[in-house]
């Protein structure tokens, strides 16, 4: 076991799947010689050759078309969309084509594509580089969407994503790339694609979050603990499908819940989680479902983003409000 950053853990997972399956291919803008603009695919072209890890012309719709066509000829594509904001260029490829194709063939053919893409605020990028756009994809039947909040899950999830015969959108939080280190096994392991995880146990209130907001929720839980409020923190990991069993088991214990997301209130997956809870667990709740989200503006220019992104203080305040309801 070695201490690994989030980004190294992803690289390690990609190295693993390239070694395991000669039909896997990595391609996208700058992923080859440059190893990606964040170096997520660093050294992989040297190790596996330009046949397996290669640069494409600059066009996201082309990248998705390539992935679908390669699936049709027996390959297991791992395209990168350099930033999630550029998935819009590939929207037809992802939503109009890829997600529907297994159904369209009456289940005859598989499209085992893993789209990797960085997202997430707080690092002062240029516009369209930080938005949480999961909303567009979790409402797309046929596509799985996963995102890790820590290095261990990042490696295990990327391996599962590539091994899955369903198309998977693998969202990489760019603020976490180098800000987090964890014990990560060098050997192969997987994290299931459809399971949430209790990352901190508690008895008084459940905090449901994903990606970077999991760490904000953990910080909030520390603060709440000082006042003897015991918060249980759940990392969704899978945004589509949602693992409601894990959430419901927690609510049966705490009877109070706050759902947290970095995306705007009208986006993200908080509304989906809240509506599931309302439908299935309302009798188990002692307080309304709390929500923490960014306000409904366009994702702001860099200088203002940290006033806008929900942080541990916002989570703590909402948790106290729901706890004291």
């Amino acid at each position: 076991m070695a201490k690994m950053t989030y980004i190294k853990a992803i690289t390690s997972g990609l190295d693993q799947v390239l070694s395991d399956d000669p039909k896997t291919l990595i391609f996208g803008e700058d992923v080859g010689k440059n190893g990606g603009v964040f170096r997520t695919t660093v050294d992989l072209q040297d190790k596996f050759g330009e046949d397996r890890v290669f640069d494409t012309p600059l066009a996201e719709s082309g990248i998705l078309g390539l992935a679908i066509g390669l699936s049709l000829t027996g390959w297991r594509p791992i395209p990168e969309i350099q930033f999630m904001g550029f998935t819009f260029e590939a929207m037809d490829g992802i939503v109009g084509q890829l997600a529907r194709d297994h159904y369209r063939f009456g289940g005859q053919k598989n499209f085992p594509v893993t789209i990797r893409t960085p997202f997430g605020g707080g690092t002062h990028t240029a516009e369209m580089h930080a938005d949480n756009l999961e909303n567009y994809f979790v409402s797309t039947p046929g596509l799985r969407v996963v995102t890790a909040s820590n290095p261990y899950d990042a490696k295990g999830l990327v391996i599962s994503a590539v091994e899955s015969d369903d198309p998977v959108l693998f969202m990489e939080n760019l603020k976490l790339y180098r800000s987090m280190k964890d014990e990560v096994p060098d050997d192969k392991y997987t994290v299931p694609l459809d399971s949430a995880k209790v990352v901190r146990e508690g008895t008084d209130i459940t905090l449901v979050a994903y990606s970077a907001e999991v760490n904000e929720a953990l910080t909030a839980a520390d603060a709440l603990a000082k006042d003897n409020i015991s918060a249980e923190v759940i990392d969704l990991r899978s945004l589509s499908p949602i693992d409601t069993d894990t959430i419901y088991a927690s609510i049966d214990k705490t009877h109070k819940v706050v759902v947290i997301q970095e995306a705007q209130r009208m986006a993200g997956v908080g509304a989906v989680v809240a509506s599931d809870i309302a439908e299935d667990k309302i009798m188990s709740l002692d307080a309304p479902i709390g929500r923490v989200a960014a306000p409904d503006s366009v994702y702001p220019f860099a200088q203002a983003e940290n006033d806008w992104i929900p942080n541990s203080d916002d989570i703590e305040a909402k948790a106290r409000e729901i706890f004291n309801y």
Partner: protein, 371 residues
């Protein structure tokens, strides 16, 4: 088919000759500072040539000063422009205030020439939305999404045509990488279909971050791609400001006369990193590769022409550099003095009429902000 029999079509020959009209990029002053087209140069007064040089010194100094600011952490995302002065200043100076500019992120220098301030450019880079509030209404913000501005150019050009504006065009920039986007083709094709007035620039600086030009397409030139859309095009030495300006002016005249759009590929080079956000060119290109481009520097060759004419001196240039540096430092101070952005403010810009949810959020943030 029998061996040696004549084929109905010779694809190999077609492929080999497709780039024939593009064998000789337009040039007035070559890489050694030698005037290869004296007739064209003679059309320009000394004052005009000196003005070109001043603009290039201005842009080079802006580049150097922004690199300093970046190192000091005083700018956000910034795309270095050194090497592209002739391409950028030679082109933008061929347009008029009423022409509509659609720039990309590497085109701040043209934007400042066309109708904003250096301080606003810095605010944009710092991630402050007031950087996008311009003096000249005929301008879009620096487009981050590669290709989007090309598709939008069709609309601006058609709008100009429908308004009956006679002396007005749209002009737009992208890079070599940008020519691979669907939007690139769609924008040119739409404009051509409507025969609307636009000039499309491709600043081919050799690289799309780490991806070399030759990996974008097997086409020998980017200019020739325009042919498929019924649009005339040209390759020009993008390190030669007179050639770029001459071609840009001719393109504007052609478009304004109702002949439809033109595509111009400027052959230039990005001396520095792709952006201030951590790109390291030594990962993907060698000094051997870059040296000929540094030797072909647009300022060196213009300096030589003007010095030979006796209208330029090093002393004069040094003074200009100092003057520009001071201007840029003042602009930075102005940018740094801008009031912080408020979430309640930009919530108000989400919709003209705030939705109930947005209204509630504005009130929440106003309460927070007044604390």
């Amino acid at each position: 088919m029998a061996n040696g029999s004549k084929q109905i079509v010779d694809f190999a020959k077609i492929k080999a000759t497709m780039a024939d009209p593009y064998k000789h990029p337009v040039q007035v002053i070559n890489g050694d500072g030698k005037v290869v087209d004296p007739d064209t140069l003679a059309k320009y007064s000394d004052d005009q040539l000196v003005d070109f040089m001043k603009k290039m010194v201005w842009e080079r100094t802006l580049h150097e000063q922004t690199m300093n600011f970046s190192r000091q952490g005083r700018l956000g995302f910034y795309a270095p422009t050194a090497g592209e002065e002739a391409s950028e200043m030679g082109s933008v100076t061929a347009f008029k205030d009423q022409d509509f500019l659609l720039p990309a992120y590497r085109d701040l220098p043209q934007m400042i020439q066309h109708g904003t301030t250096v301080a606003k450019g810095f605010l944009w880079s710092k991630g402050h939305v007031s950087g996008n509030q311009y003096e000249n209404p005929n301008m879009l913000f620096p487009q981050i999404i590669i290709g989007a501005q090309y598709a939008e150019t069709a609309g601006v050009a058609l709008g100009i045509q429908k308004n009956g504006d006679k002396d007005r065009v749209a002009f737009v920039y992208t890079g070599d990488g940008g020519t691979s986007q669907g939007d690139w083709y769609e924008g040119i094709n739409f404009t051509s279909a409507y025969q609307a007035p636009a000039v499309f620039f491709v600043q081919n600086n050799g690289w799309a971050i780490s991806v070399p030009r030759k990996k974008q397409t097997a086409a020998e030139t980017l200019a020739q791609k325009a042919v498929a859309m019924g649009v005339p095009s040209v390759q020009v030495d993008g390190m030669d400001i007179v050639a770029v300006h001459e071609v840009a002016k001719a393109a504007r005249d052609f478009a304004v006369a109702g002949n439809g759009p033109v595509v111009i590929e400027t052959l230039t080079y990005r001396y520095g990193a792709h952006s201030s956000a951590g790109d390291d060119p030594s990962r993907y290109r060698t000094d051997e590769e870059t040296k000929p481009w540094f030797d072909a520097d647009p300022l060196i060759r213009m300096r030589k022409v003007l010095t030979d004419k006796g209208v330029w001196s090093q002393d004069q240039e040094d003074k200009l550099v100092d003057q520009y540096k001071d201007e840029f430092k003042d602009a930075m101070k102005e940018a740094e003095a801008a009031p912080a952005q408020k979430v309640s403010d930009f919530l108000k810009w989400t919709y003209n009429v705030p939705t109930p949810a947005v209204k509630k959020q504005i009130a929440e943030f106003e309460a927070k902000e007044s604390k």
